[in-house]
Point group: C2
Amino acid sequence: MNTIANTPAPPYYAVIFTSFLNEGTDDYTAVAEYALSLAKQQPGFLGYEGVRNGMGISVSYWDSLEAIRSWKNHPQHLALQKQEAHWYRQSKIRISRVERDY
Amino acid sequence: MNTIANTPAPPYYAVIFTSFLNEGTDDYTAVAEYALSLAKQQPGFLGYEGVRNGMGISVSYWDSLEAIRSWKNHPQHLALQKQEAHWYRQSKIRISRVERDY
């Protein structure tokens, strides 16, 4: 179930991933869910929020840039990224530092 | 039409707004669109991405914290925020500094 992530007090980091899928990506959901289940096991993972309705926006929260880098270069994640790449018609990743929340 | 925001090179700021609506908020869309049309006219506004599918995630991009503060305290926006408040069952705003994108 989608919920608002219960993140700790700032500062922490947010990876904002905005994307559009190509047609014919039926296996996308299962792989995306598997990638998320792996992400949740990584050190420094703080939370996740994701919505798709045509465009997709997902935000994952992390306690440090090192944690983001380790997850990006995790061998299983690298394999998934290769698999995912052809699914995205357009995508953008933004790495940001959360300074305030309320 | 929803598109990936064409933001400039970092650094810039992202306001990540995650929310759930209450039932019976039929006038929500019109007011949210009006608020966005006002935001687009503000100095320092760089772009917007928003998706709702049960949970809503919207991200607005700004060139400075001052621009975010000015928009937050804009008289028309304050009135809209008052009007919007009862629509949200749950919401969270995170102010973040985008350090890298690709």
